[in-house]
């Protein structure tokens, strides 16, 4: 069976000529189905660029990225949007919920673009909100929710389409300890139920939840970490 993510010699360069910035310099990475991976690295190491490319929000300058066995390099913007919708659930550090829109509508959003019927959409969105423990908050708008609750809505939105992979870019970066614990607990449970999770963090306590830690230094992977290592 092919890995969920297979990245070969990935490069990303911003700008050109003397002022060119090489964010990724020939990075290789393989993520198997059901894995829980933490990507760590100093700021500017290229870890966010990597995650954005994995989430099909950005495209690499060169190199190969196979998602679920599909070569994304041959896809145009229209097909990439389809891929983002069906295969990827993305959780942002700053939550990124649509403002003035209820939690339920936010979670339903990917299903609307997937063309799921109204009744089924509601059912699946409610189930996802139930999973993150927000069944009582379905009709609250983002400004009526705490940071931790907003992030849980965002996670519900990321997993409502049953994606091949959940990507999280410092999901606890803007949260207090209590909320962080809840969010990480949810990601743990997702992984335990067989979902593949890749998250970025610079906190060792967060990375400790993962099976494996990948360190990105200067745009390439330094070493494969050991599963379950506590620092």
């Amino acid at each position: 069976m092919s890995p969920v993510i297979e990245v070969r010699n990935l490069r990303k360069t911003y700008g050109a000529g003397d002022t060119a910035v090489h964010a990724l310099r020939g990075l290789d990475l393989t993520v198997e189905k059901g894995e829980y991976i933490a990507i760590m690295g100093a700021s500017g190491s290229g870890k966010s660029t990597l995650l954005n490319i994995l989430g099909c929000l950005d495209v690499p300058s060169s190199g190969k990225y196979l998602l679920d066995g599909i070569d994304t390099g041959e896809f145009d913007e229209e097909q990439l949007s389809l891929l983002r919708n069906r295969k990827i659930g993305f959780v942002f550090q700053s939550f990124n919920l649509v403002p003035r829109t209820t939690a339920l509508a936010n979670v339903e959003l990917p299903l609307v673009y997937a063309g799921v019927r109204r009744a089924q959409r509601r059912e699946r969105a409610l189930a996802a909100l139930d999973l993150v423990g927000l069944k009582e908050r379905t009709h609250h708008r983002p400004n009526e929710l705490s940071g931790g609750q907003q992030q849980r809505v965002a996670i519900a939105r990321a997993l409502v389409t049953s994606p091949a992979i959940v990507l999280a870019d410092e999901p606890t970066g803007n949260l207090d300890t209590e909320s962080s614990r809840e969010v990480l607990g949810i990601l743990d449970r997702l992984n335990a139920s067989g979902r593949t999770v890749v998250l970025i963090t610079h906190e060792d306590e967060v990375a400790a939840h993962a099976m494996r830690t990948v360190r990105v230094v200067d745009g390439s992977v330094q070493t494969g970490g050991v599963a379950g290592v506590l620092v």
Binding site: G55, L57, T101, A114, G115
Partner: protein, 396 residues
């Protein structure tokens, strides 16, 4: 993915900022309403003109002196010219009325009023201009021969000078000369640009004595025996006048038939309508630019939201659709209200003109307003759709 869902997003986007949406709608509303209303006013003016000219009858020729051209002399139209037009040489001319006109100030008691048209003619004048008497009598040929100081006044003059009293038999002063009012004409209403009832008619001789002097006539109104005889009558009149005025090249008078008059006046009011409509169209255009402006602001403000939508898998077409629908809804709503305002507004008399609604202008204005949304919304919408997801998400 269904259009309905996209439309729902668009409606939510519009209701999120009601004040702004309302003001943008107002721009289109004013544009559409003014197009409909001003076309209706122009149309109303032209139909009023047509009605007043149609009232003249189809067998009438109006002869008026031509303005002097450089290098040629103009002989005045005289009473003798008018008399010469009826005779054996012109079998198709029934009769010819000489007409003089002037402005005059009339007074009764302590009231005074400036009559815009004080006309001197013979009794046939009433016939050719379709003027019916409402009270009293018209003057007779005998009155003209005797130069009696009698006058028949229009409805406006009657209400202005004799409010609440019967003018017939009263003596009014015209430029300080006493005239006896013997009749009041039935009201004809406004002919668009001037009040047809703001006039008085007295015998030709009296008017020349008192007001205009014995110079050139303002007009000779010729009545042909029938509408069919009009071309022949015109030819006979031309021959007689050319002979009397010794015309070699260009005539020093001109003859207008009711048809020509209608054409000339219609052309004028059409120009007037086009002018009004273009002013209105400009305001509609400005409204459209308002939509572009607001949609650009909206897109810029919501770049992050667009990024989020793209990140969860919104295809370009749905983002494009959402913002196009927002723009079109704004303009359609504005157009709808504008049609309502225009239709209601056209029920009132504007500047003395009763507007006549043109159904096609209503349809056109509404359709144009819908297209304006699509056209002026397409640039901001395509800008939104083309945004790269990662750039949109990074936007603060």
């Amino acid at each position: 993915m269904r259009l309905f869902e996209i439309a729902a997003f668009a409606v939510r986007g519009l209701t999120a900022n009601k004040m702004r949406s309302g003001l943008t709608t107002l721009g289109i509303l004013i544009g559409v309403a003014s197009v409909i209303l001003l076309i209706a006013v122009g149309n109303g003016a032209s139909s009023a003109v047509q009605q007043s000219i149609a009232g003249l009858g189809t067998n009438i020729l109006t002869i008026s002196p031509q303005r002097a051209q450089p290098g040629s002399t103009v002989k005045p139209l005289t009473t003798a010219d008018a008399a010469a037009l009826v005779g054996p040489d012109s079998p198709d001319v029934k009769y010819a009325s000489p007409v003089v006109s002037a402005q005059a100030t009339a007074g009764y008691g302590t009231t005074s009023y400036a009559i815009s048209q004080f006309i001197g003619s013979d009794p046939r004048y009433f016939d050719t201009t379709n003027s019916a008497v409402a009270q009293g009598n018209l003057f007779s040929d005998n009155d003209v021969q005797q130069a009696r100081k009698v006058v028949v006044i229009g409805a406006t003059v009657a209400t202005q000078l004799f409010p609440g009293t019967d003018p017939v038999g009263k003596s009014m002063l015209v430029n300080n000369i006493p005239f006896t009012v013997i009749g009041v004409l039935a009201a004809k209403g406004s002919s668009g640009l001037q009040d047809a009832d703001d006039m008085a008619v007295a015998p030709l001789t009296t008017t020349q004595n008192a007001l205009t002097g014995y110079g050139s006539l303002s007009q000779i109104v010729v009545q042909a025996r029938s509408a069919d005889a009009l071309p022949n009558a015109q030819a006979q009149v031309t021959t007689i006048l050319n002979g009397r005025h010794k015309v070699t090249q260009t005539a020093d008078y001109r003859i207008l038939s009711q048809d020509q008059l209608l054409t000339a006046r219609t052309a004028t009011t059409e120009t007037f309508t086009v002018l009004l409509a273009s002013v209105a169209a400009i305001s509609l255009l400005v409204g459209g630019i308002g939509i572009t402006n607001i949609m650009l602001v909206t897109v810029t403000e919501r770049i992050r939201e667009i990024g989020i939508r793209k990140a969860v898998g919104a295809p370009r077409s749905s983002i494009l659709g959402q913002f196009l629908i927002e723009a079109t809804l704004l303009s359609l709503f504005g157009g709808f209200l504008g049609v309502a305002a225009g239709v209601i507004g056209s029920r009132f008399t504007i500047a003395g003109i009763q507007p006549v609604l043109v159904p096609s202008s209503v349809l056109l204005a509404f359709a144009v307003s819908a297209l304006i949304g699509l056209f002026f919304g397409s640039y901001p919408a395509s800008r939104a759709a083309k945004l790269r997801p990662i750039e949109a998400l990074r936007h603060e």
